[in-house]
Symmetry: C2
Subunit: 196 residues, 2 copies
DNA sequence: TACAGTAGAGAACGATGGTTCTCCATGCAA
DNA sequence: TTGCATGGAGAACCATCGTTCTCTACTGTA
């Protein structure tokens, strides 16, 4: 088997298992069994479980970025692009295996014990904050709007995970719409969104 | 040692250790050593580690409820009482050992493996939602406002934990203020809060 | 066929976990 | 003093974990 293939199989298997059951609840043996890659090879590719966790987080970051990019691609105006973030969340929350934000979960589980993991999570969240700030600038919104929208997105992820209610995304979207309308100072023409 | 005293010592010790390092990273031996209560006695009080975790969550719920009640006690108008929730968060985020919401952390770590823990976390979050809904009703706000404010509070907790920035609470408060003013339909007289 | 090198299966190893058990000191009733 | 119940300290037990090692099968080459 190709090295790149083996790497990809291990990472995507570990991603699924870690996300579903938690990192510490999944042994390397389970990763081997489900990926079909031998322990020897896994440890050749990743020096330790911690490194595998970091690789999984990188993998998640790429999928997250691609998902967001895809959601934004269909949106026209800057304001629609901001709201598209919440539509993306809505679709994600409805997936069968949705179990909250992997970064938040991993941070809660390992953040106190592994500086590298904590740093990776921090960087992913900071990157999302920068992205939203950029979207806000494009929409002509004030600087304080971006962190507020980010809080809604983060809160929606944990609340949807714990309550199991995908409708959480709609609450977040409605709140975001209100904040955006207030910040942009107009009454909000577009696309039939009122409070829900 | 009194049974109630032993129980209290074990729970508060486990609470501190679990919160700081994560549940699975703390052995029962550490709980014994730091609480000064023997393993035999601990297992007499709590049949398993899972039961201890549940007791810790109950303990956290009581402290959370007391903290919120204390914060609300100093607030006058219903609108101030809503915003007082975010002032309470601000104080909490500034504590040295703040590491996010214990319920969210535990849910991420054990929610997939222990139904009882998942249920306890769900119940705590549902209880908070009901409380905020009650405050919104007292303020004369519409039903949809409460879940929006809850999302801000939840998002603030995870964001403050990961970023380490206590100022997160101010963003949440400002957003909440905006949502409240929009929902109540007036321009917002009170207590010098503008966007931040 | 003989050989070298690679990789997989899975045993082995040392550490640690949750839980239970043994043994001993203490205090109190008779 | 004797006997007995209580509870503490910590060893013991069994499972599991992350990691490494051994042995074997296989591949390609001369």
């Amino acid at each position: 088997m190709d090295e790149a293939t083996a790497r990809e199989r291990v990472v995507s298997t570990a991603d699924r298992l870690f996300y579903t059951r938690g990192v510490q609840a999944v042994g390397m043996d389970a990763v081997r069994t489900e990926s079909g890659v031998s322990l020897k090879r896994i440890y050749g590719l990743f020096p330790s479980k911690d490194d595998l966790v970091l690789a999984v987080l990188r993998h998640r970051t790429e999928r997250w970025n691609a998902g967001i990019a895809g959601a934004l691609a269909g949106a026209g105006t800057p304001r629609e692009r901001l709201l598209a973030v919440f539509d993306f969340l809505a679709g994600w929350f409805r997936e069968d295996d949705f179990r909250g934000c992997a970064f938040i979960n991993v941070f809660g589980e390992l953040g106190g014990g592994s500086d590298r993991v904590a740093e990776a999570v921090r960087e992913q969240k900071a990157s999302f904050r920068r992205h939203v700030a950029e979207l806000v600038r494009e929409a002509g919104g004030p600087d304080h709007l971006a962190p507020q929208l980010v809080l809604l997105a983060e809160g929606a992820q944990t609340t949807a995970a714990i309550s199991g209610d995908p409708g959480t995304a709609a609450h977040a979207r409605a709140a975001a719409d209100t904040l955006i309308r207030c910040a942009l100072g107009d009454a909000g023409d577009a696309e039939g969104t009122t409070e829900a």
